[in-house]
């Protein structure tokens, strides 16, 4: 990708920062200052984007969910309800932060902080463009997973710190869910690392740009596993057992008021952004679009992909019913985990065969793509049949009247 040599090239905002730093460097400032300034500028931009996106998505989610549920959604606070998130934020800020009397004060206070900070730190590794990364670490992929996994302990502390049995129960369930699906997540990421041969996020995007393909075609099963696992990781429906209003009041953050609850919500949205960004970078090609990034800014492409994945999460939330905890755990350990292991082995096998036969990429990759999609579909359906999920159930062909339903208790209904 050839960038113009001028700072006003919108296609890569990192260029402007680099030009500014060169200007600073010509003025004779100490050598560490430009790096600090560039990092701070990037960080400000990142945080501003995260908060604005979050405000937008609070509104968008509520409107979209409402339209899916055939109702209107917030439309009073500002035109089309666009100021609703602002109103929400102000309301949350003006509520009292009550601490329960028997609560462990240190843990109670620490939990929201420990849930938000990892999400923000994980945002720092994501490549928004060719030179728009806050920290393009050599182990970027594992870094995101590692940082997100530290938030799990603080979820437990939130439940343990409030002296509330139901908070503790919700926290335990939530932690059990989080740790089960984290294994699935890491294994799905592993298959991508097998294909690309690097766990640096910039390298993964370059690989997809170089071979002019998106990894979604080569790793559909991995993407499916990662999407499901991630929607559980950020506690979204269909797996928001811990915080569903009709389930256990609000699970581990029942006892939290004011901005402490707001921080849990913020952590959920920012973690959702991190996950959507990871999907966009790994499977959807990041800031590349089969060469279109010559004209359209790469960060714009990336943001569109990110928002698309997040829209998918909102769509799933509006459509699917909530799963029970035993269904969720069984699904993770008995269905997704073996499938992810098989996916890794398959990816390894394909890479070994590719290296042995030394075939060019244009021949091999379409074969792998078709093969992987077929095998993915086959594995999902086959494993479901093996587990007995797709068995045809005996159900009557017509709807039952109340009288008939009552009679089921006295004699079994004939098979229709």
């Amino acid at each position: 990708m050839t960038l113009l040599d001028s700072w006003w090239d919108l296609r890569d905002l990192g260029h402007a920062v680099a030009a500014f730093l060169e200007w600073l460097g010509d003025r004779g400032v100490p050598s560490w200052l430009p790096y600090l300034v560039s990092t701070l500028v990037g960080l400000m931009a990142l945080l501003l984007w995260a908060l604005l996106s979050q405000l937008f998505f609070i509104w968008a989610e509520r409107r979209l969910l409402a339209r899916i549920q055939v109702r209107l959604g917030p439309n009073r606070a500002g035109p089309f309800g666009l100021l609703q998130p602002v109103a929400d934020a102000l309301k949350v800020l003006s509520k009292e932060m009550i601490t329960p009397r028997g609560a462990d004060k240190v843990l109670f206070w620490l939990a929201p902080i420990g849930v938000v900070v990892p999400a923000i730190v994980a945002l720092g590794v994501i490549p928004f463009g060719q030179r728009m990364v806050l920290a393009d670490l050599n182990v970027g992929l594992l870094f995101i997973v590692a940082v997100s996994s530290t938030a799990t302990l603080f979820v437990f502390l939130a439940g343990w710190g409030s002296a509330n049995k139901y908070s503790l129960l919700g926290a335990m369930r939530s932690v059990a869910m989080l740790i089960s699906y984290e294994v699935v997540q890491v294994l799905a990421l592993l298959a991508v690392a097998v294909f690309v041969g690097s766990i640096r996020l910039g390298d993964i995007v370059s690989w997809q740009g170089r071979y002019n393909t998106w990894l979604i075609f080569l790793q559909p099963l991995g993407l499916l596993g990662f999407l499901i696992a991630s929607s559980v990781e950020v506690n979204r429906t269909p797996s928001d057992i811990a915080e569903a209003e009709s389930e256990i009041v609000a699970g581990y953050h029942t006892e939290y008021g004011g901005i402490r609850w707001g921080m849990f919500q913020m952590a959920e949205y920012i973690a959702g952004f991190v996950v959507a960004a990871t999907v966009a970078v790994l499977w959807l090609g990041g800031w590349t679009l089969w060469g279109l990034e010559e004209w359209v800014p790469g960060w714009l492409i990336f943001l569109i992909k990110l928002y698309g994945v997040f829209f998918l999460f909102i769509w799933l939330r509006g459509t699917l019913p909530r799963l029970r905890i035993d269904q969720l755990m069984g699904f993770a350990w008995k269905f997704l985990l073996p499938l992810m292991l098989l996916n890794v082995l398959l990816a390894g096998l394909e890479m070994v065969v590719w290296k042995e036969t030394e075939a060019p990429a244009e021949v091999v990759l379409p074969i792998w793509a078709v093969g992987n999609i077929a095998i993915g579909v086959g594995l999902v359906v086959g494993w479901a049949l093996l587990m007995g999920h797709l068995r045809p159930r005996n159900r009557p062909a017509r709807s039952l009247l109340v009288r008939e339903v009552g009679q089921i208790y006295y004699r079994p209904l004939e098979e229709v």
Binding site: K95, E96, G124, I259, G348
Partner: protein
Amino acid sequence: MVAELFQQYVGVVVATVAGFVLVGAALFANRLLAPRQATRAKGLTYECGMLPIGRGRLQIHFRYYLFAILFLVFDIEAVFLFPWALSFLDVGAMAFYEMLLFIIALGFGLYYAWRKGVLQWR
């Protein structure tokens, strides 16, 4: 080289500090805007509006511990798999079979847990 490595991690450190600053600012804003009056009724545990029944902590099931151990084992397996993924092409075809053995060993553990019924959440 090593200096570039440290420059990258400056970004991580700055992001962490910024996270703490953001959280601190949020807490401070709430401290400014919200009332603070701790009455006795507000400090009670929330049980859907009723008075709390029973003691403060409940006894958790040992099943959570099992899932934690299984998670730990599979996490370590993934940690072993990452270096393999990055280098197995350079080492040769034998590397794939070594990893196959590794995964089979742990897959057997998962299968055993499955058959013994401990993966069933009750």
